[in-house]
């Protein structure tokens, strides 16, 4: 009766490489990015000059890393609103480390930053999984707490790029084959996390949990452990972003990273990660982050009135979730009718 006989072609789940490529969730956002770059370049060729491209990559780097981390959390149907505060703490921590030990090897600084980020992420994950409280509430609270700690720690103190070794600052200046070093780091991060999520068992568990956590529990997936992993991963990557922030920008202080959280959520959502978990990929989130940072540059390059920029970003976010929704409705309908005809 209702088993799906020979439904592969009807559903388009056939193995035609092109067909399956087109159905990737990353496609709409990637196309939007390409179109945006092309249009901007036509109007202003400088947009893709060596410097222009370098700037675009640099701008996207930190957002990309954070969007990838948060993406992993959202895939489990959780959220971490405290990422802006975590970034601020780590960035200021980086400044402090250099101030305290100017000759410290840069690798150590990265290690410290990542560890601090991981710790903060772990606190969030711990509260969410142990107390079984919705992550939105917990991390909203932690947003305030971490920011408060940052303020208390930093006070009026700020550390400037000049306080840090030149080699550290050069990470966000020097390039490898035209790609800034910190961007290379970001690309490596995207690839590693993407492989982790797509090709390892714990990674796939995250999707299963986001898809239906009750079923995951029944299935014997260690749900709490995995969710904790996602939060720690997110914290670690946000920590990395914090260190890179200190490398790239002039000053780090009490307010660094304020208000970043919604931008990062927006990047992940625009990149096709469903806000209620279970689907999407961190590659999509990364492209979403690139799209959102590029659109700002692009509007400036196009001399679009700066007052319109934010409104356009808003429209973009709404469009992204609309497209996503329409695609999923169509898919559901296709699947349903194919069931019916096969019944």
């Amino acid at each position: 009766m209702t088993t799906s006989h020979a439904l592969a072609p009807a559903l388009g789940t056939g193995r035609s490489p092109f067909a399956s490529l087109v159905r990737q969730r990353e496609v709409p956002v990637a196309s939007a990015l390409v179109v945006l770059v092309i249009v901007t370049t036509i109007a202003n060729p400088l947009f893709v000059s060596a410097q222009g491209v370098k700037d675009l990559m640099l701008n996207a780097t930190i957002t990309v890393i954070m969007a990838v981390g948060l993406g992993a959390v959202i895939i489990t149907n959780n959220i971490d609103l405290s990422v802006g505060s975590i970034l601020g703490l780590v960035a200021f921590g980086t400044g402090s480390v250099f101030a305290a030990a100017p000759d410290i090897p840069i690798v150590f600084v990265f290690a410290i930053g990542l560890a601090l980020g991981a710790l903060l992420g772990a606190i969030n994950g711990f509260l969410v999984t142990v107390a079984r409280v919705p992550s939105l509430v917990i991390t909203l609270g932690m947003l305030y707490i971490y920011r408060g700690v940052n303020n208390a720690w930093a006070g009026g103190q700020q550390y400037f790029a000049g306080d840090r070794p030149a080699a550290f600052g050069r990470l966000s200046v020097d390039t490898v084959l035209g790609v800034p070093i910190i961007t290379v780091i970001a690309i490596v991060v995207v690839v590693l996390v993407a492989v982790f999520l797509a090709r390892t068992r714990p990674g796939r568990d995250l999707y299963a949990i986001g898809s239906d956590d009750e079923a995951a529990r029944l299935f014997g997936i260690p749900v709490s452990k995995r969710v904790l992993t996602a939060f720690v991963l997110n914290g670690t990557l946000t920590g990395l972003a914090g260190v890179l922030y200190a490398s790239r920008f002039n000053s780090v202080g009490a307010t660094t990273g304020t208000g970043l959280e919604l931008d990062i959520v927006a990047a992940a959502v625009v990149g096709g990660i469903a806000i209620f978990g279970g689907s999407g990929s961190v590659v999509g989130a990364a492209i979403g982050a690139v799209l959102l940072t590029t659109i700002t540059s692009s509007l400036t390059a196009l001399n679009v009135d700066k007052f319109w920029q934010q409104a356009i970003v808003g429209v973009l976010i709404l469009t992204a979730i609309l497209v996503e929704r329409i695609a999923s409705i169509r898919k559901a309908r296709r699947l349903r009718t194919s069931e019916a005809t096969n019944a």
Partner: protein
């Protein structure tokens, strides 16, 4: 014949998993009072019992989802308590739950292998191997499901098959299947049985739950009977007959259960004409008259609930019409249906019938919220009065009207649902699985209530998966199969055989001669 479960059975096979005198409560609800079962290697044990007897609760204890409040629990002769499904799985227990537990966003292949996907030498998931393994499993079950499609949108039957594939792929020591065949057709059931027998012959201990006696007798080596959360008896299949099992299950003669009053059937109240929803149900037409109880039978997934939901206005329909009291009912508008005099007791009490956090009194008066209010404001006093009034009429047992309805037992919760609909003074009442998961005592009370309502001229549409309930209560029985109305029987023509045949399509020739679908 009845065997004491503690004494060894006739065949000297080793007991793998055993539960004795297990008790489990959920708040005020006693799901299991004294559950016992013994699973032996190389043997298939069928667990039977009425809805709500506690079968699934026992399955969940064996699976580590729930932990027993008390009782004995032995695995390979050693005391054990599984604290989580992961533990039971690690011990070699593989479970198919009654409700499919698939991940809608993952592919079919992944759904089967999550957590133990085949990997390449580098430790990465080998998708090709996973796909091939999934396909091999489906071949074994003889069903062609595409391993690469996502699970979302699969039919209940396909979902069930994936659950089966998942469970057998573990090659577990113990395989527990909670109503795996509820949504399957004959061919698929046969294939599943083939696989189950093969597993048994290789030494697995299998527990199998089904409400269909032909399956129980066709597959099992032993039958364990449960009633009201307690173990009743264990039998060797070859030495027992269906009536014996039924008696053990219900604990009394079937006829006594359903006190059907003779009804004076009046004028037609509701007419459903050509109701269709693409892919779900097709061209469904029937009438219900005042004072008449119409039973709607069919297998799970036949689309009965869907028809009722569309009729009432919860879901949309693509074609057809619903007429009540001579007036056409607006589609997609439950409020309009309520105003027109329809009440609907839904099948899932906990998610659809009640707001579990709300008090008994608020729940009872939720349907009366506009009637009880003036200028949009509800009178608290009148609300309390109405609620207390209806609780008393239906003899709802509760510590207080102000307690959350979640603290009530299943049967009393169902009475609250009935009360809130009776309070609207309906002319047409739909009851979907009205006695699912409630104890026997309350069950007959509910039946009496429904019967009484019909006696007072209300038209009743009763959807039920329990054949005795349908046969005992209904003046007329409609049968659905795969989204279509396949047969209509008058009370006297409806026998278990005719209805099951119409529901499964087993002997279409037979059904066509005795029935004619009313249009």
């Amino acid at each position: 014949m009845t065997i004491d479960p503690t004494s060894d059975g006739p065949s000297p096979t080793a007991t793998v998993l055993e539960l004795r005198g297990a008790r489990k409560t959920f708040g005020a609800v006693v799901a299991l009072s004294s559950g016992s079962v013994r699973l032996r290697a190389g043997e298939i044990n069928a667990l039977v019992g009425e809805n709500g007897a506690g079968k699934s609760t026992m399955v969940k204890i064996l699976a580590g989802v729930h932990q027993p409040d008390s009782g004995d629990f032995l695995f390979d002769g050693h005391p054990i308590v599984f604290r989580s499904p992961a533990e039971s799985k690690a011990a070699g227990v593989s479970v198919i739950y009654q409700e499919p537990t698939l991940f809608p966003d993952l592919t079919v292949a992944e759904n089967i292998f999550v957590g133990r996907q085949p990997t390449t030498r580098l430790g990465f998931i080998d998708r090709a191997a996973m796909r091939a393994d999934a396909r091999a499993l489906f071949d074994r079950l003889g069903v062609p499901i595409d391993p690469d499609r996502v699970a979302e949108g699969l039919s209940i039957a396909d979902q069930q098959i994936i659950e089966i594939a998942k469970a057998i792929s573990l090659d577990a020591k113990v395989l527990i299947m909670d109503e795996p065949t509820a949504a399957l057709s004959g061919v698929e059931v046969e294939r599943l049985f083939g696989v189950a027998r093969a597993l048994r012959d290789r030494g697995s201990a299998i527990m199998f739950i089904s409400h269909r006696f032909d399956e129980v007798f066709g597959l099992s080596d032993r039958i364990t009977v449960m009633r009201d959360g307690a173990f009743i008896s264990e039998h060797t299949t070859s030495e027992v007959s269906t009536p014996e099992i039924v008696r053990a299950m219900v604990g009394r003669d079937v006829d006594q259960l359903f006190p059907k009053q003779e009804a004076r059937v009046g004028d037609t109240v509701v007419r459903v004409d050509g109701l269709t929803r693409a892919g779900v149900f097709h061209d469904v037409s029937f009438e219900v008259s005042a004072g008449e109880i119409v039973g709607l039978a069919g297998l799970v997934g036949a689309g009965r609930t869907e028809v009722a939901r569309a009729l009432f206005g919860i879901d949309r329909y693509d074609a057809g019409s619903v007429t009540i009291g001579g007036r056409r009912l607006a589609p997609r508008d439950p409020m309009a249906s309520i105003r027109a005099g329809i009440g609907f007791v839904p099948e899932d009490r906990r998610k659809q019938g009640l707001v579990m956090d709300m008090s008994v009194s608020r729940n009872t008066t939720l349907t009366l919220r506009t009637t009880l209010s003036r200028l949009g404001l509800v009178s608290a006093r009148r609300e309390r009065e109405a609620a207390a009034d209806w609780s008393r009429r239906l003899q709802v047992k509760t510590g207080s009207q102000e307690l959350p309805v979640s603290t009530l037992s299943g049967g009393n919760q169902q009475k609250v649902v009935l009360a809130k609909w009776l309070a609207t003074d309906p002319t047409f009442l739909i009851v979907d699985e009205p006695t699912r998961g409630i104890d026997v005592g309350t069950k007959s009370e509910v039946h009496r209530l429904i019967s009484d309502l019909a006696g007072r001229g209300i038209a009743v549409l009763m959807i039920s998966s329990e054949l005795p309930e349908v046969l005992g209560m209904a003046d007329r029985v409609l049968v659905m199969r795969e989204g279509r109305l396949t047969a209509t029987f008058d009370r006297d023509d409806a026998t278990p055989e005719t209805v099951i045949n119409a529901a499964t399509g087993a002997e279409p020739a037979h059904t066509t001669t005795t029935t004619e679908t009313r249009r």
